[in-house]
Symmetry: C2
Subunit: 344 residues, 2 copies
DNA sequence: CTGTTAGCGCCTTCAA
DNA sequence: TTGAAGGCGCTAACAG
């Protein structure tokens, strides 16, 4: 392929080509309140097309004072929970002609801080943080300061599933969802439970485990603290936690993993341990990840409208600022499936 | 929360605060070839810290003439195939201090064109297109033109799994992988096959189906064209195709779905049809999606190193341009699992 | 309705 | 080593 012109045309070039002024070309091409006489407009458009002109977004942003990129921070884009939310954010962003810059923080809070700082440098118009943080108050403080700086620079901020910071938040009702799940499982006849509780300090994991315990308590069932095992918030974490439980030889009828990915790991561990589901052990998860809807037995879980959450977050960040912080509550819905059949 | 200063400090402010010139502040803060006397440097740094200064990346980019954002185009970020690749791109980008802007094209080639144009406007330093395109030569031509324009503006381009355009490409050996899979399945004793072939015009799907047929042919087995059923490249597409096959009442021993997601859909259809796997029907897929490794029976597939592919693409786009276009070949590896047991 | 011009914030040549 | 000044491409007053 021969190297071509390698010349980038500017608005100036377009204006010259159309024999009009810079300002007219600008008005004709990039929406302005002012209007341009039709014939001139056509000339500008033709000139731009001829030159294959593409406005320099950097320069536009600098002159206008704001950009149209929004930053999205997730813990791990390869995790279906986050990729589904990301898809939803991107699809909503599209409607507003916003560009989405994504970064994976890999659950390192320092990286989170770095990225927010970088996005401030980019003068991103907004940043959305998906995924809860830990209960470490030092980290929360730092993040709060960084987000405040971002807002001072004119940016908007929205959080998904974290409610300890005074900014717009999409609150996922983890606790209530887990509570209802517990109630329904008890109604199905289950009595002895174990919980694969995820990371000790992760708010989402804690809320789900706590909600589940509450639900059991209300139904008059107590959860033995020894049957609450922590672990990574991943498939392998679920596998490991379930294996630990198994090797300890617990006598429970149903295991609740605080997310679907862990639940699938737990199911693998059960299978590897020679147990059959749901006969020997019932399993429940949380999230209702689409990719995991075909596991067998079908997984009982709490469905979260992941496809909406991102859109709601983007809305928060797009709408005129009312009095803030605003909260949007997202409910979960218990979906009973074959992994937790009715006991008789 | 009381509204704060809402004032963004500029390099000018930093310079004043440090009692030095703008140029000195610039040199001290943002790496320049020139050096600054240590005490002045310290003063600048202190001033910047005091003001919580954050350089305006837009302005830097304009002055410097290039940005550090790379665009990534995927068909659907919620699809685990793409989200895994995206994770890999992002992780590699991180090492180069590049920011990644992601967009979902939803398999609409016009959106693909729009996004490349937008990224040109953003003066992105590179764009990576993940996911093959169709064999529509009109679309290919348009995309080629758009990418050429992008390159003319100084940007770099890399494609993942598409080889009909004269740009740097990460070539996934779909055909060879499927061929080997066919060979091994025949070696296991299977004779009658069906193929869930995906979209008719999608290159990746076509290559995999063709490779599979080749492999069978070499092993002396012919594939009845009637047993090649097209469909969407999704879970539901696999379900629908398998259902169609079932209702037509075909007599095959093994079904090859051209990707794992479709294979899982097919498994669901089989289950809903009352068939047991692998006894009544063996199933094989392609990709080895991590999230799907726990389906039962475990899915035989062709493993692709998705975690590397993105990194390779980023490397292509980062490295000094040698003579181009360059090609990087990515091999698949057949992984036999419980869904295709040895026949006797 | 159109053109002129002054910035937007930063980097970098050039002169000191 | 430091400072002054021009320019990156565009928008938005302002003047005509």
């Amino acid at each position: 392929m021969p190297s071509r012109a390698r010349r980038v045309f500017t608005l100036q070039d377009v204006a010259q080509g159309a024999d009009v002024s810079l300002a007219t070309a600008s008005r004709a091409l990039n929406g302005s309140t002012r209007r341009v006489r039709e014939d001139l407009r056509q000339r500008v458009l033709a000139s731009a097309a001829r030159l294959n002109y593409s406005a320099n977004a950097q320069a536009q942003a600098m002159a206008r004072g704001h950009t149209n990129v929004v930053g999205l921070l997730v813990h791990d884009i390869a995790d279906p929970y986050f990729s589904t939310i990301a898809a939803s954010v991107m699809s909503a962003a599209d409607k507003h002609h916003l560009l989405v810059t994504i970064a994976s923080t890999r659950r390192r809070s320092e990286r989170e801080l770095e990225y927010v700082a970088t996005l401030r440098g980019q003068r991103a118009c907004a940043v959305i943080l998906a995924g809860s943080r830990t209960d470490d108050s030092t980290q929360i403080g730092r993040l709060g300061a960084e987000l405040a700086a971002f807002e001072d620079a004119g940016g908007r901020v929205a959080l998904i599933s974290q409610n300890r910071l005074p900014v717009d938040t999409v609150m996922v009702e983890n606790r209530a969802g887990a509570r209802t799940l517990a109630t329904e499982l008890v109604a199905l006849g289950y009595r002895r439970f174990a919980v694969l509780a995820g990371p000790r300090r992760l708010l989402t994991a804690k809320d789900r485990a706590a909600g589940f315990r509450e639900g059991l308590a209300r139904a008059g069932t107590v959860l033995d603290p020894a049957d609450i095992v922590p672990g990574e918030f991943t498939r392998d974490g679920g596998y490991a936690a379930m294996s630990a439980l198994l090797s300890r030889g617990v006598d429970v009828a149903c295991v609740f993993a605080v997310n679907d990915v862990m639940a699938v790991g737990a199911m693998a561990a059960l299978r590897d341990g020679g147990l059959e589901m749901p006969r020997d052990m019932a399993v429940a998860g949380f999230d209702d990840i689409a990719t995991l809807r075909d596991v067998t037995p079908a997984l009982t879980t709490v469905r979260l409208p992941l496809g909406e959450i991102g859109a709601v977050a983007l809305e928060l960040v797009t709408l005129a600022q009312a009095e803030r912080p605003r909260r949007r509550r997202i409910k979960g819905e218990v979906v009973l499936r074959a992994s937790t059949p009715r006991l008789r």
